[in-house]
Symmetry: C2
Subunit: 206 residues, 2 copies
């Protein structure tokens, strides 16, 4: 299976919503196809231990496992990929040091999208589509902004930022390959069910 088929429901961990392992287990049970481990302000050892746990879980569910920012953790945990933003390790460095990894690069506009593509990214995380409380950054693209980017690039796009069960069909109409979700799933009463419900919507489009 091409990797981009597994980007459809891409869940990003968030320590505010409990233990990563619990979050991920339930999201996978509900149908998440990709998991990204995002951790800040923890020791490398703790980060690695968590990554190894998620690596096992994602294997069990045949899902992709990505690490946010940290190439050392991605390599040491045998992740499928890494996701980097503009403040992280440059894509070209990742490409050279770990050519086997799937590289995701964040993009807010066409300039950033083209930077990622030229540097060798395998997919783009494009957003924020909607305003979100998850990130401090308040700027957002809207569905039109997302469409403008998706029609200009030829690598897979995972849309991110404020996506929930109510607005996700508008996003799925933007010719993208996946939805990245945090709160709408992890901050719900039942992670398994909210994953299932979103996966059901996605499956009608992708």
């Amino acid at each position: 299976m091409r990797f981009d088929k597994k980007l459809k429901l891409y869940v990003i961990t968030d320590s505010r919503f409990g233990k990563e392992v619990e979050q991920v287990k339930q999201a996978l049970e509900g149908g998440a196809t990709s998991i990204q481990l995002r951790l800040k302000d923890v020791s490398t050892r703790h980060f690695l231990d968590t990554a190894k746990d998620l690596r096992k879980l994602t294997r069990d569910y045949d899902a992709l496992f990505f690490v946010n920012d940290r190439l050392d953790i991605a390599m040491a945990s045998d992740a499928d990929g890494i996701h980097v933003g503009m403040d992280d390790m440059p894509v070209e460095y990742v490409k050279e040091m770990a050519p086997e990894l799937i590289i995701g690069s964040s993009a807010y506009n066409l300039e950033e999208a083209n930077y990622g593509i030229n540097a060798g990214a395998d997919y783009l995380g494009v957003g924020a589509v909607y305003s979100t409380n998850t990130k401090l950054d308040a700027r957002y693209l809207g569905v039109e902004g997302l469409k403008n980017i998706s029609k200009s690039v030829n690598i897979p796009i995972v849309a991110i930022g404020g996506i929930n069960h109510q607005n996700c069909e508008d996003v799925l109409n933007c010719d993208i390959q996946g939805l990245a979700v945090i709160s709408a799933i992890l901050n719900s009463n039942n992670i398994v069910n909210s994953s299932k419900e979103m996966r059901n919507i996605i499956d009608k489009y992708i």
Copy 2:
């Protein structure tokens, strides 16, 4: 030259004492033989940019360049080595992913020293020798504790923790290969001179 000959004056950066590049330039000018970049709570991009600057400087002065904790930064900046503690990437992972790097492993006691050696460390950072304000951890070995470790291990030892111009000769008598210093050099009025002075003392012993 064997790498352990370059451990003798090993300066560890500390952002509390100004810009890393300035600290390191002056320490090298004064005779530092190894530099370790230690940064916390900065973006990977900033960490990498700083590491690349220090890599250039250390090359100019024919000094060794180590990165604290972060294997991704060490690899991307073409460092000579990495220094890891018990909360960092395990030595055996570093060894497998980057066999070309010199690996330093922190040890407070023989058990930790032997863990590092068995896992493949190339040198040990042993301490704290004296109580120090630089680290929150207040436990310290004393000169006797350091001697106990140095006589039991057969890889190079860099002594660390509270070492200054007044007490360093006691440490140099412990059959060790280098002194790791932060405040005594970086928090001095003249980094070049305080490096020179310490280097002069060290050169009498090592």
